[in-house]
Symmetry: C2
Subunit: 374 residues, 2 copies
Amino acid sequence: MNFQINKDTLLNNLIVAQKALSNKTPNPALQGIKLEVLKDHLVITTSNSDIAIKLTVKDASLAVKSEGSVLIPGKYFIEIIRKLDGLKVQLSMAADNMLRIEADRSDITLNMMDLDDYPELQFSEKVKSIKINVRVLKTIIRQTAFATSSIENRPILTGVNFKIDGKKLIAIATDSYRLSQKEIELNESYEALNIIIPGRSLEELIKVLENNNDQVELHFDHSKILFKYNNLLFQSRLLEGNYPETSKLIPTEFATVIKFNKENLSTAIERASLLSSRDGNNAIVKLALRQDNIVEITSNSPEIGKVLEEVYPVDEIVGHPFKIAFSSKYILDALKIFNSSEVSVNFTGEIRPFIIKGEYDENMLQLILPVRTE
Amino acid sequence: MNFQINKDTLLNNLIVAQKALSNKTPNPALQGIKLEVLKDHLVITTSNSDIAIKLTVKDASLAVKSEGSVLIPGKYFIEIIRKLDGLKVQLSMAADNMLRIEADRSDITLNMMDLDDYPELQFSEKVKSIKINVRVLKTIIRQTAFATSSIENRPILTGVNFKIDGKKLIAIATDSYRLSQKEIELNESYEALNIIIPGRSLEELIKVLENNNDQVELHFDHSKILFKYNNLLFQSRLLEGNYPETSKLIPTEFATVIKFNKENLSTAIERASLLSSRDGNNAIVKLALRQDNIVEITSNSPEIGKVLEEVYPVDEIVGHPFKIAFSSKYILDALKIFNSSEVSVNFTGEIRPFIIKGEYDENMLQLILPVRTE
């Protein structure tokens, strides 16, 4: 193997590949980056127990003297390429199983790993596939993945449930304290589908997708999903099991609907959460609709102090005075992902889940379970 | 106590006062901020075991209804003021030993601490004092404090030694592996002085000094130093003991002097330190002057790989080929604080300390001890 390439081109691709590189893995070979150089392109592969990435790099700067494949310690290789001076970098095999890296006045040799230890990865296209605009896919992920569970006691809840029915795609995430649901209309009609994608895989995927109007192809079988996007193949395992049926949890009739300026509501809750009683790590905050139609956000931490915030709703309120308590983190997380500057909070009862919607966040809803106090 | 003040004015002063606020202190009263409101000004005081800060705030926005003093939990108070909406904030005593904080539509009460528990602090001016331009003082601190020791086994080395002799001020810091020395000329002649200021106090001080042409007054007695700067009084304890005599360590005759572009030298050393043998946490890097007058920076980590960097000196070299090894951290730390883009590295021998100087860093020198290898 012996080739030259523009240093920044190589670096930018390595930064994408790094997303599937694991520092701690039971299989040491997965700490390596696989480089395959062919006549007119370079293939970069990384993988860990959740995801695998394959990048095909075709670049005018690529000059191949001899083809070949190597497995290189990933962390060191990326750090070296990042710190090199000069426009181009030359990579070649040196004696004693070393990779030689030359750029500007640097001459670096890096011990290689045994390519035979690297697992055989299949990035094959699957029978079923759909196409989504990359911006739409990013929105779906941004608006749902945050609501997955980070604790592993119910593994299924660490994933986002994607359901397709005809032209409709619904994505749902819940950690059993809050739920996020986003629905979009696809360009074509597809066969019914119901899969669960690990939230962490989606969080990594979103980092490497750009903000353009390209399409992403999603290919899946029963155990894997493959995202095809320009020169990137991004594969994730799927979670096995049945995702809970959440539709019955979502109330459809509401006793009280209050429309807020999103910013006013979140800053009031943020201040209240500074001095609040705690349920574990969560700050508990109370919301009350007063007789005079002003909303009070309150908190009380007997040892430290208390907060009373008045928030004026945007519109006339439909409903009677009531009180509800909730974990401030869940409502702040939810408010953050709305694009709308005004949100409607829909209450059913003092100990019933409430939902948040926004005019400019079509077909997206956030559900939050209240907590009981006293 | 009852007064109103511009919120940002209060916040900006609290951020300065926070530098002397301790989270973990044997005396819980020191987690408090002392506020004293007088007819036309506000005094904010904080202190920990090393430093004490007193700010006198006179501001057109200050409207005092009634004078008084309180001690408030510092962390919570600053977080609340930071998150408030509105231009102004009203602070008043409420029943039950509470401080009431009102701004915009927020009404917050914070349990107060017992003012009687707060230590009596003296910020009195001392018999001896000198004046230094604030930019000059910041340069002295920036160029020396980083070289103090962070381990407490020789407490004296955690401080910076300030010595005044007539119009000359010398500041010295060393952790016994490297030494930094900066000399400046004062505007007036002063009595001889030799004190040791804790490096950490200086690191906090530098954060609250601005970049203008104001003077800082330094007042000292045997145990304390007081910095007077505009509305700020910043006091630090001094370290007791005798600072080691370092002047004999600094070589004055050199076998080889090499002038480098600072950037070229540091990036080469940074790359070499990626793959280097370790002395504890320190990456060991070697420098060699070759027969052809090119400098080689090398490192070798048998398990990972090796680096060879060529650095072309800026000028003709005076001296013979030689080799030296050092900890890359010390030389990178030192290079960072030079304003000059070219630096001269002055070598005496392969196992003798070397010093770095820069044309535009007058009267400043950095000394580094080499390490023995093989």
